[in-house]
Symmetry: C5
Subunit: 386 residues, 5 copies
Amino acid sequence: MKNSNLPNDVINKIIEVPKTIIEAPINLLKLLAPKRKKKASAKIGLPPGSIVYLGEKKVEKVTINVTEYDETSAESYEINSAEEIDPFTDTPQVTWVSVCGLHETDFLKQVGERFKIHPLVLEDILNTDSRPKIEITDDYLFIVMKLLLFNPEQKILETEQVSFILGKTFLFSFSEKTDEIFNPVKDRILSQLGKISKRGSDYLLYALMDIVVDHYFLALEKVEERIEILDDEVINNPDRSQIESIYNLRNLLLVIRRAIWPLREIVNQLIKDDGDLLDESIEPYLRDLYDHTIHITETIEQQREVTNGLMEIYLSMMSNKMNEVMKVLTVIATIFIPLTFIVGIYGMNFKYMPELNWPWAYFAVWGVMIGVVGMMFYFFKKKNWF
Amino acid sequence: MKNSNLPNDVINKIIEVPKTIIEAPINLLKLLAPKRKKKASAKIGLPPGSIVYLGEKKVEKVTINVTEYDETSAESYEINSAEEIDPFTDTPQVTWVSVCGLHETDFLKQVGERFKIHPLVLEDILNTDSRPKIEITDDYLFIVMKLLLFNPEQKILETEQVSFILGKTFLFSFSEKTDEIFNPVKDRILSQLGKISKRGSDYLLYALMDIVVDHYFLALEKVEERIEILDDEVINNPDRSQIESIYNLRNLLLVIRRAIWPLREIVNQLIKDDGDLLDESIEPYLRDLYDHTIHITETIEQQREVTNGLMEIYLSMMSNKMNEVMKVLTVIATIFIPLTFIVGIYGMNFKYMPELNWPWAYFAVWGVMIGVVGMMFYFFKKKNWF
Amino acid sequence: MKNSNLPNDVINKIIEVPKTIIEAPINLLKLLAPKRKKKASAKIGLPPGSIVYLGEKKVEKVTINVTEYDETSAESYEINSAEEIDPFTDTPQVTWVSVCGLHETDFLKQVGERFKIHPLVLEDILNTDSRPKIEITDDYLFIVMKLLLFNPEQKILETEQVSFILGKTFLFSFSEKTDEIFNPVKDRILSQLGKISKRGSDYLLYALMDIVVDHYFLALEKVEERIEILDDEVINNPDRSQIESIYNLRNLLLVIRRAIWPLREIVNQLIKDDGDLLDESIEPYLRDLYDHTIHITETIEQQREVTNGLMEIYLSMMSNKMNEVMKVLTVIATIFIPLTFIVGIYGMNFKYMPELNWPWAYFAVWGVMIGVVGMMFYFFKKKNWF
Amino acid sequence: MKNSNLPNDVINKIIEVPKTIIEAPINLLKLLAPKRKKKASAKIGLPPGSIVYLGEKKVEKVTINVTEYDETSAESYEINSAEEIDPFTDTPQVTWVSVCGLHETDFLKQVGERFKIHPLVLEDILNTDSRPKIEITDDYLFIVMKLLLFNPEQKILETEQVSFILGKTFLFSFSEKTDEIFNPVKDRILSQLGKISKRGSDYLLYALMDIVVDHYFLALEKVEERIEILDDEVINNPDRSQIESIYNLRNLLLVIRRAIWPLREIVNQLIKDDGDLLDESIEPYLRDLYDHTIHITETIEQQREVTNGLMEIYLSMMSNKMNEVMKVLTVIATIFIPLTFIVGIYGMNFKYMPELNWPWAYFAVWGVMIGVVGMMFYFFKKKNWF
Amino acid sequence: MKNSNLPNDVINKIIEVPKTIIEAPINLLKLLAPKRKKKASAKIGLPPGSIVYLGEKKVEKVTINVTEYDETSAESYEINSAEEIDPFTDTPQVTWVSVCGLHETDFLKQVGERFKIHPLVLEDILNTDSRPKIEITDDYLFIVMKLLLFNPEQKILETEQVSFILGKTFLFSFSEKTDEIFNPVKDRILSQLGKISKRGSDYLLYALMDIVVDHYFLALEKVEERIEILDDEVINNPDRSQIESIYNLRNLLLVIRRAIWPLREIVNQLIKDDGDLLDESIEPYLRDLYDHTIHITETIEQQREVTNGLMEIYLSMMSNKMNEVMKVLTVIATIFIPLTFIVGIYGMNFKYMPELNWPWAYFAVWGVMIGVVGMMFYFFKKKNWF
C-alpha cells in the first residue's frame, strides 16, 4: 500500500482551498432560505412521485461519468443517455455512474424505468431539500446525504445533496454540482491502487460516503477556527459586531447538525442490514464510518456548548465595558461636582461674607479643594477602581 | 404523467395567497385561547361520548360533497343527509364523503349509526380542541389532524381540525370550514389523471394527509420569512417593539409544534398497521410522509433555537443601545464638568485673587480649557469610545 | 341520548364557580408547604402500614354515601359504619361507596378487614401526600389521584387527594373534603340516564376519573387566563410586582405538573391490564382518558414555556424602562451641562475680558446657546432617542 | 396494631433535632470536598479489592451490636470479634449484626472469609465515597446507600454511607458513625411489637432502608424551609448575600440528588429480583419504597426548578434596586441641572444685560424656576416614576 | 495482601505531581485544537485502513517493553522488533507488550500481520484523535481509551490516547508518550504480589484500565480544587479575569466529558461479552469499573452544573459592583447638585436681590445647605444605601 503514489495534488487542492474561506459565514442562512422556501410552496398539490426538479440550476450542463472496473481492469468515460448504460449493467464488473447536475430529468426517468426504481426515490433525488435518509429494498439501496462544501468565491459554507443508488454490481451517485470530491476514489480505481478494485460496489459506496463524512470534519475544523478567532476577539477586544458573528455561528451549527444527525441512523441501518447487497466483510468499515459520524455529532454538540459559552462571555465583556464607562463618569463627577460647589460658594454676592476679605482665603480654598481630591483618590483606591 | 395538465391555477391560488399574510401573527394566541377555554369548562359533567358541537359556527351551511370513482369513471355531487350515502357504500368504487362544517350533528349521528362508528370517535370529530390522534379498529381507521391555514383577512395563522374515517371502500373527511385545500386531489380524481383513480381509499387518505402536511411547510416558510425580517430589524435597528414580536413568534412555534408533534406517531402507526384497510403498496408513500413530518419537526426545533438566539441578540442590542447612551452622557459630562469647575474658580469674589488682575489670564484660562478638552479626547480615543 | 335532560344546573354550578377565582394564586406554595412538612417528619420511625391519618381535619364529619344500581333500579343513602355495607356487597348490583373526610380511620380499618385490602393501600389512602399511583391485585385495583380544585373563599387553587378501590361489583371512592364534584355522575345513575346504569363498576371508575381529569382542564384554563392578564400587563405596563406573579405562576405549574404527570402511566397501566376487573369494552374510554392526560401534560409544558418567555419579556421590559430613565438623564445633562459651562465663562471676574464690554455680547451668548441646543436636538433625533 | 405503644420518644427525638438545623448549609460543599479528594488520589496504584479504610475516623470505637429474634423471642448484645457470630448464624432465627465505625478492618476481613463475601464488596463498604449500588449474588445481596443526616453542632447536612449485606437468615448493616437512626426498628423487634418479629431478614432490610429513605424527606423539608425563607427575603429585602445562599442551596440539591438518584434503580432491582433471598410477600413493601424514592426525586427536581426561579427573581430584584438608584439620580439631576443653568445666566458679568436692572427680575427668575420644577414633576408623574 | 510492600514511591510520585498543576488550564483548548485540525484535513482522500501516523512525535524513541509472567515466574525486558515476540506468544504464560510512542509504524505493521489484526484497528491505534471505542472479534478485543494526564512543565491537563489489544494469552498496550502510569501493575507482577500473577491477560487488561480510570478521578479532583478557588475568588473579590477562567473551566469539562462518556458503553460491552477472551470471574471487577465510570460521569455533570452556577454568581457579582458605582455617583450628585444650585442663586448679579444685603444671609444659606444634606442622608439611610 503506497500512499505516496496517491493523487496528493487532489487531496492538497481540497485541503488548501478552505483555508481561505468561512471568513464570512454570516450570509449562510439567507442563502439557503430562498431555495427552501420556493420548494415548499411549489410542492403543494403536486401528485406524490412527480419527477420534477425544483431546485436551482447549479451547473450549466449535466455530466454523466461511467467508471467500470474489476480486479484486472478499469476504465472511465462520459455518456449522454441512459441507453448507453445497458450493455454493461449485467457484467460482473462494478459500474459506477456518477451524475453531476439534476436539472435534466429525462436521464433519471430512463434510469427509473430500466432499474425499476420507485418514483418516490426519484423524487427524493431531485428534491434537494430532502432530509438525509435511507431506503432499503430487495433490489437496491437508496441513500440521501448532505455534502458540506466551501464556496471559495462567495466565502460561505454550502450544503449540497448527494444521493446514491446501490445495486448488486452498480452504483449511481447524484450530485447537484460538485463531483470532484469523488476524484480521489476514481483515481484509486483507475490506477488499480489499494483494495478498492478488488472489492464490489458496496465498498465503493462506503468509500464515497467516507469522503462525504470526511468533509464534515473539514467543515467543523473551519467552525473551530472561527470559534477560536472569535474567542480571542471577544476576550481581548469585545465589540458590538461580535454578537452577530456568534449568532450566525450558532445558526450555522444548527444547519450542520441537521445535515449530520440523521446520518447516524442511516449508517446504523446499513450495518444492521442483512440483505444481499452488502457483503459481510464491509461491516468493520461501516462501523468505522459509524464511529466517525458519532465523533462528528459529539464535536458539533461540544462546539454548540462552547459557542453558548462564548455568547455569555461576550455579554459579560460588554457589561464590563459599560462598567468601565460608568466608573469614568463617576470618578469625574465625584471629583468635580463637590469642587464646583465649593467655588460656587465664593461666587455668591452677599455683602457680608467674611471669608471674601481674608487675604489668604483664596489659597485656603485651593488647599481645601486639593484635600477633597486627595480624599476622593484614597476612596477610589480603596474601592479598587483604578 | 403530465404535470402541465394539473390544475395549476388551484396550486397557484394556494401558493400566492399566503404571500400577503403573517404580517401580524401577534394576535394568534389571544384568538385561539377563548375557543379552547369555552370547551374545557363546558365538557365537565357531560357523559362521555356525547355528540355535541361546542366550537364556533365557522361556516353558514354544512356542505357534504360525495366523490365516487374507480379506474374507469369518476363523479362528484352534493348531498344533504346520510341516507343518500347508502346506495353507494357497498359498491367496489371508492366513495369519498367530504363534510365541511361541524355544527349540524345530525348527519354525524346518522353516519355513526350506519357505519357503526364508536361514539367517542364522533365526539372527537366534534371536539375541535382534540389532540391529533389515530384510532385503529377492525372496521375503520380514524385520524384527527390539525390543519395550519392562513387567514388573509385577519392576517393570522389559524389552526383548524381535520378528521378522516377510512373504511375498506370509503373515506369520510371532516373539516371545520376549509375544504378547498383538497380540491387539487378532487380535480385529479375527476380528470382521471395520475395513479390516484387506479388505487383504493387508502391512497386517497394518503393524498389528503399529504396536502395537510404540505401546508405545514408553507406555515414554516412564513415563520422563516418573519424570522428573517426580525433578524434584520433586530440587528440593524433594535427597538422596543421587537421583543413582543419575538415572544409571539415563540408562542406561535409552540402552537405549531403541538399540532405537528403527535403526527409522527400517527404516521408511524399507519406504517406499522397490518390490518386489511391499508394495502402493502401504500407503505413507501407513508414512509415518505413520515420523513416529511420528521423534516417539519426538525425545522420547528431549528426555528425555535434560532428564535431563542434572536431573543438573546435583541437583549444584547438593547443593552448596546444603553451603552451608547451612557457613553454620550459620560463624554459630555467628563468634558464639561471639569471646565465648569475651572470657570467657577474665577467666578469667585475673593478680594485677593492675583490671577484676576493679570491681563492675559482670561486667555490663559481658555488655553488650559482647550488643553483639558484635548486630553479628554485623547483618553476617549484610547478607550475606543468613538 | 338526551343531553338536554341532564342535570345542567349541576354542570353550570361547577362551571360558574371558578370564574371568580385564581385572582391571587400567589399564596399557593406557602399554603401547601406546611401540610407536607408535618407529614414527612411524623412518618419517621412508624412501622410501615400504620393506619394513621396525619393530614388536616378538613371536614367536620365524615360522610359515607352508598349508591347501589343496576340497569333497572338505583338508590342512594348514607351509612355510618362498615357493617352496613355487608348485605349488599354480594349482590350483582354495582355498589358505590363514597367516603368524604379521612380523619376517622375506624371505617377504613373495617373496610380493610372485610375486603382484604393490603395495609399499605389503606396507609396510602390516609397519607394525603402520596404520589398518584396504581396498585393492581387479583381482587381489587387501587388508584390514588390528585384533584385540583378552586377555593373561592381563599381564592387559591387547592390540591386534594382522591382514591379509588375497584372490586368486581363495588367501588370505594375516598375524598379529603369535596365529593360534590361526583354529583353529576350520581345524578345520572339515579335518573337512570345515559349508559352508566347499564354498565359495571369499571365504567363508574372511568366516569369518576374522567371528572377529576376534566377539572385539570379547568385549572389550566385559569392559569391560561392569568398568563394572558400578565402578558398584557407586562407588555403594556411593566412593574416590579409582576416578577413575583410570574414566579408564583411557575411554581404553581410545577405543582400541577407533579399532580398530573404520573397519571399518564396510571391510565396506561389500566389500558394494558388484562385482569378480570376491567371489561374489554371499557378500553376505548380509557384510551380517550389517556389522550386527555397527554393533552393536559402538553398544555402544561406549553404554559411553562410561555411563562418562561413571559419572564424574559418582563426582564427586557424592565431594562427598557431603565433605558428610558437613562435617556432622560442623558438628554437633560447633555443639553444643560454645556450651557452651564458657557454661562460660567462669563461669570468669571477677570479684569480683562473683552467680551464683557461688548454691548451685544449677552445676546450673542444667547444665540450661541440656542445653537448648541439645536445641535443637540439634531443629534438626539439622529440617534432616534425621541 | 397499637401505635401508642411505639417508642414515641425515639421518634420525637429524631423529629425535633433537625428543627434547629440547616441554618447554614453554606459550608457543605467545602466540607465534603477534602474527603473525596483524599480518597481519589490514594486509590491509584492499589490492587483492586484491597481492604483498606481511607475515610476519616469518625467514631472513637467500633461497636458491633447483634440482635437475634424470631416470632417468640428477641435479644440484643454487643460483640467484639467475628468469631462470636458463628454460633448463631445457622439457627433459623434472624441475626442482625449492626456495625458502627469502619476504621477497624479486621472484623470485616473475618466476616468476608466466614460468609464468603467478594473482596470488592468489602472494599465498597470501606470506600465511603462509593456510589449507591446493589450487588445480587446467589448467597447474599449487597446494598450501598447514602444517609442524609443533620449535624446539629456544625449546623450542616452530612452524608454518611450505609451498607447492608443480606443473607437468608442474617443481615449485616454498616454505618460510618450513626446507627441510632435504626433504634426504632430495634425497639420494635425487642418489644415484639408489629409484624417485624414474625417476618424474615428481608423485611428487616426493608424496614432499615425505609428509615434511610424517610430521612431524605426530612432533609428535603429542611431545604424547603430554607427556600421559603430565602423566597421571602429575596422578594421583600433583596440583598447581596442572598446570591451566595441560593448558589449554595443549588449545590446542596446537586449533592442530595446524586445520593438519591441511583436508589430508584436499586429498589427496582430488588423488586425484580426473583432469587431465594427475598420472599414474595415483601414485594408490596418494596413497591411502596420505590414510590417514595420517586416522590423524593420529583421533589428534588421541583426544588431545583424553584431555586432556579429564585435566582432569576433575585437578579431581577437587584436590577430593580439599581433602577431605583438611577431614578433618584435622574430626578435630582433633571430638576436641578436646568435650574443651575438659569441662575448661571444671571451670574454673568456682561455690562449690557437689561434684565439685571429690572426691579422684579429676581422674583421673575424664581417664578420661572418654580414653573420648571412643576413641569418636571408633571413629567415624572406621567412616566410613573413616583 | 501486604499493601505496605507496594511501590508507594511510584504512587506518591503520581499523587504529588499534580498538586502543583492546573494552575492555568486556560491554554488547554488551543493546545488541543491544532492537533485535531491537522488530522481531519489530512485524512481526506486517503484510503481507509492506511497505517500512517499523523499525530505529533511526542517521544524521541519508541520503546517496546515485554513482560512475561505466570503464577511461578515473571520477567521483563525491552525488544526492538516484532520478530522477537514470536517465541513467547504460544506459551501459556501471559505476555504483555507495552509500546510507548507511535511514530514508527513498522512495528505495528508487523504485529498486524503476525496477529491478524484488521487494518482499521491499526489505523485507530495511530489516529490519536479517535473516539474511545471497543471492537470485539473472535480472536482479539480492541479498546481505545483516553488518558487524562497533567503536564507539570506546561501546567496543563493533557489527553493522550491509550489502546489495548487483548488476546487469549497476550495483551498489547499502546501509549503516545506516557507508560509510567502502568508501572505499579508491572511492579506487582514482577514482585509476584497480589492475585494478578495468578490470573490471565483479561485481569491484566482490567488492572490497566482501572489505572486509566483512576487518573480521571485525579483530574476531576484538580477541577474541583480549581472550582473551589474560583468560588472563593468570585464571591469575595469578583474581577474581570474570572469570567475567562470559568469559560475555560467549562470547556475543559467538555473535553473531559467527551473523553469519558463513551467509556461507560465500552465497559458495559465488556461485561456483556460472552466470548472466550474474558473469564467469568472477571465480571465483578468489570462491574466495579463500570460503577467507577458512572461515578465519574456523574461528577462531571455535577461540576458542570456548579460551574454554570458560578457563571451566574459571577455575573451577579459584577452587576453588584456596578450597582455600587452607581450608588456612589448618585449619592455625590444628589447631595451636591442641589447645593450648587443654591449657591448659584446668590451668585446672580441682579440689582434688586433683598437677601444679598441681609447681614446674616450668608450664614442662613449655610444653614439651609446643611439642612439639605441632612435630609439627603436621612433619605439614603431609609433606602439602605449605606
